[in-house]
Symmetry: C2
């Protein structure tokens, strides 16, 4: 069973920022992590992920740099910025509120 990203549309940024709270990471790793963490139930498409990176970098939530891999394919690493942490906190709050609202609206009885 797997859900479409459209059901969590708008929350991709939050997921990425959350992961970057722990440590810098790069696209491929983040994608694998999400897939594995959810047992394949949720998968971000590459285009979605990389366009999220662009958006987040443009609005100052993350910064990026090329890794210095001496072997294998090059990797672009992303760091969460101070501003990104604030955005993450706000997004988390918004998500809690969204959950409450939808649950309230569709609860039965």
């Amino acid at each position: 069973m797997s859900i479409t990203s459209d059901l969590l549309r708008g929350h991709t940024d939050t997921i990425i920022l959350r992961l970057l709270l722990n440590r810098d990471s790069y696209g491929y790793e983040i994608n694998k992590y999400i897939s594995e963490k959810t047992d394949g139930a949720y998968e971000l498409k590459e285009a979605t992920l990389y366009s999220a990176f662009r958006r987040l970098e443009e609005n100052g939530s993350i910064s990026s740099y090329w890794g210095d891999e001496t072997t294998g394919a090059r990797r672009r690493y992303y760091s969460i910025t101070r501003q990104g942490r604030a955005v993450y906190e706000q997004n988390k709050t918004d998500w809690e509120e969204a959950k409450t609202i939808l649950d309230e609206l569709i609860k039965e009885g």
Copy 2:
């Protein structure tokens, strides 16, 4: 405090179907109900609501008829169909899964 509909994007149909489970209703009433039930925290824009009606009617989840108001503005009433009930059940399940997944992905510690 209020959230944008984009945070619940894709769940508008579910909200509408849920309300129609109780009884037939019409656009303006549904919109007011949502707004009041959430103390104004969540409001569907008219364009969003009416385009959802179109979508739901096209895919057979609801049917509609003009009310026979003898006074006041005309009202178009909507009924949930048998198929709509099935869609609703599926959407509810999907929402539960989406919640679980996002909570898992952004939980800290």
